[in-house]
């Protein structure tokens, strides 16, 4: 430490708000759990809350996810909007799933490309943009 505490304020840039970094380390909100217990969630798995906001939801973060998923939303979008790392969000989603508060809708099986009709619909939709 070069600053002398008696001299008072240390020179240098101050960090405020986001620049100061997270106040709580990311995995604090999961109670230290780092991976979903049972299932994984693809980035484009859709989530829909099966209930309106539950008063006894475990944490504000769980509440935030339930609030967001009153409309169908993809996992990546939920993570981005609650501003938590994907890994953290996946653990929280697992909680909500096991509590029956949320439903998941997975994308089609990964080893198949979409069918001709779907691809034609995508091309048509892109042309119309």
């Amino acid at each position: 430490m070069s600053a002398d505490p008696i001299d008072g304020v240390e020179e240098g840039p101050a960090w405020w708000d986001h620049e100061a970094g997270p106040v709580v380390r990311p995995y604090m909100v999961t109670g230290g759990r780092v991976r979903p217990v049972t299932v994984d969630f693809d980035l484009i798995t859709y989530l829909v809350a099966t209930a309106t906001l539950a008063a006894d939801t475990p944490s504000p973060e769980h509440q935030a996810i339930l609030a967001l998923t009153q409309e169908p939303r993809a996992v990546a979008e939920v993570a981005s909007r609650v501003d938590l790392p994907l890994g953290v969000v996946r653990v929280l989603l697992c909680d909500l799933l096991s509590d029956g508060l949320i439903a998941r809708y997975d994308p089609p099986p990964t080893d198949h490309l979409p069918n001709v009709e779907t691809l034609q619909a995508v091309i048509h939709g892109l042309r119309a943009l």
Partner: protein, 195 residues
Amino acid sequence: MDSVRSDTAPVPQALKILVAGGFGAGKTTLVGAVSEIAPLRTEEVLTTAGVGTDDTTGVATKTTTTVAMDFGRITINPSLVLYLFGTPGQNRFWFLWDELATGALGAVVLADTRRLADSFAAIDYFEQRNTPFVIAVNCFDNDQRYTAEQVREALDVDGHVPVLLTDARDRMSVKNVLITLVEHVLTMVRSSVPA
């Protein structure tokens, strides 16, 4: 509780397209040009044990890295939504690419002619995974020094892989890249249908 949800919109089918390319190639710009929302950012926090350390004290060296992925969304119709994911630029995050590429419709490799070698890794990756891809050469500030054919030769890609010039800032240009990719996928799907 079933009745609670009965009035809500149906859940659409989601598809994803990856946008790969070297650092600074314009991935997020491209996503933003066609996305209906301002590109969102999702992050993954990685904790990795230090590599190459000969630590005998039992105290492992750990580093925490945040890897960001930017993405956008295009609603094709009420039952079909397309997500565009920019892949992390650094090659050392390959395992995140695996997650992204799983189930992807296809990929756009965004190439910068000033640094063509930056796109080699992405091309190799998609070739080996059999993920359909197109190469979009980002022409910065109308700096169109090479033709698509010259770039194809330089990158040594198969003749069936579309190579096209684009401007990642231009909506119509990017739209054309995506249409070319999906048409390429359509061709592959049709040719793989058993006789």
